[in-house]
């Protein structure tokens, strides 16, 4: 889409900057997620590189105005390539005192703070546990504060519409969005179109939101409180067609693409769980594709049905978060024993138990690799960015069908909800994989393996002459009959392990970012890619001898990992857990890796990793 030219010439001073970090913060009923994603889509369409960090409470509506009810949406947009949503915020929009209190700590001195001054009533100040009004007690003097009576101005703009005061108040987020569009010279067109699509059936609501948006924009334009406004030029992205995509959307698209590539229908069994439910929502829309979604009665049924579909020849997929994986463990074992292709997507969140449903964490790695009874190996892949979810989803099914094995796809809340621009791959850039069913009757044995991959044949019901029985009891080698023979059991345990190990022959070589050897290697997996890459890039720019490596295949590890590790004096492993990858690396390669561990339900800041790098290199 081309950018529109409806932006009037600015009266105030314009500054061209190369990047900005903004955060919308308000009550969870204030529509901050919608506001943030509208701004995101708009700047993405304009051509900026983006990275987002939506951060919201587990409660749908915590008591209004309270600290636990604060919902935030951070966006980093730039004319250069960026990898993270940014450490520090340039402009913070706080819709109430609670939002101010919980977010102002991330605004550095001199940062711009826009507050809805109407919300700073004594009652709201009490709810946010402010002893005095921060707008008047001088505690914000290190910031550039813009007090705007957003609720009042918005209500005035909407006067005359047939709406209740409460309904009118619900549109004030679009007033704030309008201000931000003006501040960053962004077109209102995409959002106006979105409002029409979203509220077309209720014209008065559509009109109200449009008026709110335009009023906010006009406010920025006509008042003189903002001395400067900003332009962030489009990024120099590689040529191609782009779209903005969240990790969960990319996961859904990747799974669908895998189904198209494999020419097998996709079956998605899932039970609603944060932060994985969006994959279910997304896939259930695509009824004109060969995909069936099944909202099961529980997590076990979700995977059981996925296994049943795989047994019948579909691409069986189940998606969940950590607590759901715990419930699925026995069934994963069944898929390992019956050697059926299956993908288990775990959009990780803070644990243990119910933990932090809406916050991100990487603490399910060991659960994926080891968390079942018996010797029960599965392949594990992990996307590095929201868009990478697409690529790794296809990979997960390529491996699952080629090796007849369950594959874990380890995403997390930060990737799943975070967005970035994605260059849409062309058809010829898509990987190819053949999926073949066994149909030949002669010589058929349910557990006769492919000599190279050790995969057993996929023999689906409906194939004449191949009637056979499979199940969770130990299988006799080749025949698949039930066997309790001791030697056979050990043979089968080793065969299942060897099959997974051989996947290492079939995955890409690692790429070291920076020199191939040296004093320090920073190694990560999953969603820490952005923060690690930014920190290492910064350090390299300062001339520091540091490289980084990112693992997208966690079981088996890539063949070259051991050699690469040996080429560095020290190895640092930043993880959003207490050191799970580090433990695996130490155990597997006898490398004395150092951990950088954070479990706060939040992604790493670039500065945190940078500090660890500097510390090690100094020490």
């Amino acid at each position: 889409m081309a950018t529109t030219t409806d932006i009037p010439l600015p009266k105030t001073k314009r500054e061209v900057i190369d990047r900005a970090v903004i955060r919308f913060a308000g009550d969870s009923g204030d529509g901050m997620q919608v506001t943030g994603s509208q701004f995101t889509n708009t700047v993405a369409l304009y051509g900026n590189d983006i990275a987002t960090f939506p951060d919201f409470p587990a409660e749908i509506r915590a008591p209004a105005g309270t600290l636990p009810g604060v919902s935030g949406y951070q966006l980093h947009f730039s004319s250069n390539e960026i990898f993270t949503p940014g450490d520090a915020v340039d402009v913070l929009i706080a819709m109430n005192p609670a939002a101010l209190k919980t977010n102002v700590g991330d605004l550095p001195a001199g940062g711009a703070l826009i507050v809805n001054s109407d919300a700073f009533s004594q009652q709201n100040l009490n709810k946010a546990a402010y002893a005095s009004n921060p707008l008047t007690d001088g505690s914000l003097k290190q910031y550039t504060v813009f007090e705007i009576p957003i609720s009042t101005l918005n209500a005035r703009a909407l006067a005359g519409l047939d709406m209740t005061a409460k309904q009118i108040d619900l549109t004030k987020n679009f007033f704030a969005l309008g201000i931000m569009f003006w501040l960053y010279e962004r077109s209102m067109e995409p959002t106006l179109r979105w409002i029409d699509e979203k509220f077309g059936k209720t014209p008065v609501i559509a009109e109200a939101n449009k008026r709110a948006l335009k009023a906010g924009y006009a406010f920025g334009e006509t008042t003189e409180i903002f001395h400067t406004h900003y332009r962030v030029a489009p990024a120099h992205l590689a040529p191609g067609t782009y779209r903005n995509i969240t990790g969960n959307e990319a996961t859904a698209l990747g799974m669908l693409a895998a189904s198209k590539l494999a020419k097998r229908p996709l079956f998605y069994g899932s039970y609603p769980i944060t932060p994985a439910s969006d994959i279910l929502h997304e896939l259930s829309r695509y009824k004109n594709y060969p995909v069936t979604t099944f909202q099961a009665e529980d997590e076990i049924s979700a995977i059981g049905a996925a296994i049943g579909s795989a047994y019948g020849g579909a691409l069986g997929l189940t998606g969940t978060s950590g607590p759901g994986v715990a419930l699925k463990s026995e069934a994963i074992g069944l898929a390992v024993m019956t050697e059926l292709p299956l993908v288990i997507a775990n959009i990780q969140r803070g644990g243990p138990s119910t933990g932090l449903p809406t916050k991100t964490e990487q603490a399910d790695l060991m659960q994926a690799i080891l968390g079942r009874n018996g010797e029960c190996p599965v392949a594990v892949v992990a996307p590095a960015t929201p868009a990478d979810c697409y690529t790794m989803a296809i990979e997960a099914f390529r491996i699952a069908t080629r090796y007849m094995t369950p594959v874990f796809f380890l995403s997390d809340g930060y990737l799943g909800n975070g967005a970035e621009p994605w260059r849409v791959p062309k058809r010829d850039q898509l990987p190819q994989f053949d999926v073949k069913f066994r149909t030949e009757k002669d010589g058929f044995q349910p557990y006769l393996r492919d000599p190279r991959t050790l995969a057993r044949p996929w023999a689906v019901p409906g194939t004449p002459g191949l009637e056979h029985r499979i199940g969770g009891l130990e299988k006799e080698d080749v025949t698949g009959n039930v066997s309790y023979d001791p030697e056979n059991h050990e043979k089968m345990v080793r065969l299942r392990a060897e099959k997974i190990a051989r996947i290492a022959d079939d995955i890409p070589a690692l790429q070291v970012f920076g020199p191939a050897s040296g004093r320090l290697l920073v190694i990560g997996w999953g969603s820490t890619y952005g923060a690690i890459t930014s920190a290492v890039e910064e350090a390299q720019a300062k001339g520091l001898p540091v490289s980084s490596l990112h693992l997208r295949y966690l079981n088996p590890f890539p063949r070259d990992l051991g050699d690469i590790l040996k080429r560095f004096d020290k190895v640092l492993v930043p993880e959003l857990n207490l050191g799970q990858l580090r433990m695996l690396i130490r155990a597997r390669y006898l490398v004395d890796a150092i951990g950088l561990n954070k479990v706060q339900g939040k992604p790493f800041r670039v500065s945190e990793i940078r500090k660890a790098i500097d510390g090690i290199l100094r020490g």
């Binding site: 995409p190 995509i245 060969p290 069936t292 099944f294 076990i300 049905a305 049943g308 019948g312 029985r469």
Partner: protein
Amino acid sequence: MPVDVKGPKLTRADFATDQTVRWCPGCGDYAILAQVQKVMPELGIARENIVFVSGIGCSSRFPYYMNTYGFHSIHGRAPTIATGLKVSRPELSVWVVTGDGDGLSIGGNHLIHAMRRNLDIKILLFNNRIYGLTKGQYSPTSEFGKKTKSSPYGTAEQPINPLGVALASECTFVARSVDIDTHHLSSIVERAAAHKGTAFVEIYQNCNIFNDGAFDDFVAREVRTERMVQLEHGKPVIFGQDRRKGIRLRGVHPEVVTIGEDGVTEKDLLVHDEAAQEPTLAYLLSRMTYPDYPVPVGVFYRADRPRLEEILEQQSIQATARLGAGSIERLLKSGSTWTVT
């Protein structure tokens, strides 16, 4: 049901496997296996299009002995596997074999949801009122106060009524039979197979090791006619040696009456209606137990309702007609896109 056998008609022997059957000698499961193997050729379905799915327990060894496709899964989860399979491959004839522990205890949740969804699957629940494979603990259908290995002082739990569960789960075909009544059992299995939708059949099955004679009070040959009643659609509920006893409704309470006594005639008796709009009558009949009543067997309830796999297929056909078949290119470029040159 796909009717697609080509060539000579299959026989019972075609459905037997080369595996040694490992149930205890004298187990009621043998009789059930024999009847199912006998019925299969009558259905006119090619062996490769039949799948038996089971969970864990004695009954769940069943698929190993059927020369069809078979999946011996994990405890209680057979309905989930059958669901995924049937939705993905609606043309297959999918059977679930389960027991009172597998289906009503560890897998109770899956059983009720499978039935409410009304997939075209057939569920055979072997009810022996005991845990056999784990050697003799009480099950959710064990009678109150039963002394077992895990209840030496008698169970303190009320048993569950499998047919009541099926009816409450909106199951569209609910029936009961008995392992040793071979003729009745095969006729019920055949009717279940012919039903379009989820069929639930409770089969009283004797565990001669851990709960021998559990049903003897009413299924034993010499007492059966007096203590059991075969439900027949549209016919009065009559039983007894000389067919003189029957069930009459007094309000919502069934009572046993004798034709010819106290002025009772056949016209006073309850007439069984398996196709009644509401399963109220079926529920009432399912509550009748020995010794207060004769134990009913037969089809308690059946209804016609669209099947899950059928509805999903329809949705897909309609969406494809409206939006066209999806392609990867369209998929990837869905939503707002922009071009960088």
